[in-house]
Amino acid sequence: MTKAALGPAVRRAAALLVLLGVWESASRAGWVDPFYAPAPSSVGSVLLALARTGEIWGHLEATLLAALGGLLGGLALGIVLGFGAALVPALAELLEPVMILLNAIPRVILAPLFVIWLGIDLASKVALALILVTVLIFFAVYNGIKEVDRRLVERVRTLGGGRGALIRDVYIPSITAWVIGNLKIAVGFAFTGAVVGEFVASSRGLGYLLQFAQSTYNAALTIALIAVIMVFALALFALAERLERRLLRWRYDQP
């Protein structure tokens, strides 16, 4: 991190610490009801207990598997369908309205249907995460190809390049830029799909635990689980960002 970027990071961390300190003191002084807003220290001890008993690992594994499965599957399906629709007009005719419809609705309403079709295990969560990601990536690829810079296409053609050169040197890099540009959003969508799917019906996963914490009015456990999900989503986010900076070097490298 550069010196210039260090300033805001330090200030933000300090602000967070102050906020946690105020919250902790308010809780200890009895100004807020720990039933609704348990002190950061009790949230911390819940987290420690979850880790120590090993209870959380199975749930974490289930959620991560569902999110990753949905993310990878959704990327693959979105790329294939987007490519297909852009290259085969008949396919676009069929797919475009379906995708527009799926994009317009809150796709999580499909969760109950997936439970009925696929059961309460991993498959229905993967399916929900997958559909969320697929629609996003479909449009990224489809529009990426349709809106590829005509001047670049003409440049390669006047150099004598055929379909192969166009796909290798223009279309694939252009689509990569669109897909990678949407990767961080896709990570968020994948987690949404996995957790909401577990919320609706499941016997494992962070969403299931959350549902349990809510039904027992356990605010400390709820906050602890939200923190865990945040940390994992942020970690995947950071990974996606590194990938983006690596694959899109041409966009980020400084002169």
């Binding site: 001047r151 670049l152 003409e154 440049r155 390669v156 053609r157 006047t158 150099l159 004598g160 390049g161 050169a165 040197d169 223009v170 890099p173 252009s174 990569t176 830029a177 899109l248 070097r249 041409w250 966009r251 490298d253 400084q254 002169p255």
Partner: protein
């Protein structure tokens, strides 16, 4: 080298250009001038087959691989480095990648860009990008060069410098050139023959002038030649504008 007979190009509406005849001999530098929107670019697009002409024909004595086309904008691939962009033109001709990259580096050095091969287009200035585009075209050692106002976007100093380099190259290698431009002075100082296109739509060739300035030339010195002034005046008249006032309406 290139002969255009009765060329007509339309994009749905009335033809942009109609019945255009034009010839570029071996080693000849030919300019096609006209007001903006007169359809000059359509002539080049038809030659490079980016559009199908409605009528007329384009005869080329050179294989497609021997034609170089320099665009108005540099149109470099943003995701390829300068060297990879130059190498692209060679790889399309069938040169293996390592050899193409070596040749690209040599060409970049020749155009004053040694050490810039690994940079991406967005890390280069406008003039540097233009040199990369020029290297991309010249590396293929074309025999016919088609140019569409290639240096219009550059500032005056860089423009004179790059034009001078290109002129030297064209004269040394005896390349045939068809340059499309709205810059009359540039057209005279570079060309052997200048064609004047009337205003579009339905633009056609209004006049053809030979330029008597001896070669080798230098961009700035050419303007001091005694034939420069009178020819410039004639071109203005051909374009239907009073000399020195491009804002005046056509008569």
């Amino acid at each position: 080298m290139l002969r255009i007979d009765g060329l007509t190009v339309a994009y749905g509406g009335p033809p942009a250009i109609e019945n255009v005849d034009l010839e570029v001999g071996a080693g000849q530098f030919v300019s096609l001038i006209g007001a903006s929107g007169s359809g000059k670019t359509s002539v080049l697009r038809a030659v490079t087959r980016l559009v199908e002409p409605q009528a007329g024909s384009v005869h080329l004595d050179v294989p497609p691989g021997d034609i170089g086309f320099l665009f108005q904008d540099d149109a470099l691939l943003p995701w390829r480095t300068a060297a990879e962009n130059v190498a692209l033109g060679l790889r399309i001709l069938g040169m293996p990648r390592p050899a193409a990259l070596r040749a690209a580096d040599e060409w970049l050095a020749r155009l004053g860009l040694s050490g810039y091969g690994h940079r991406y287009p967005r890390q280069l200035s406008g003039g540097q990008r233009k040199r990369v585009a020029l290297a991309q075209v010249l590396a293929r050692t074309p025999r016919l060069l088609l140019m569409d106002e290639p240096f219009a976007s550059l500032d005056a100093i860089v423009r004179v410098r790059i034009t001078e380099e290109l002129l030297g190259w064209v004269e040394r290698e005896r390349l045939a050139v068809l340059l499309v431009t709205h810059d009359l002075e540039e057209a005279i100082s570079l060309s052997d023959v200048v064609y004047v296109l009337s205003r579009g739509p339905r633009a056609g060739v209004r006049a053809r002038h030979t330029v008597a300035i001896p070669r080798p030339r230098h961009v700035l010195d050419s303007r001091a030649d005694p034939s420069f002034g009178p020819l410039l005046q004639r071109l203005w008249q051909d374009l239907g504008e009073p000399a020195g006032d491009s804002q005046a309406p056509p008569p």
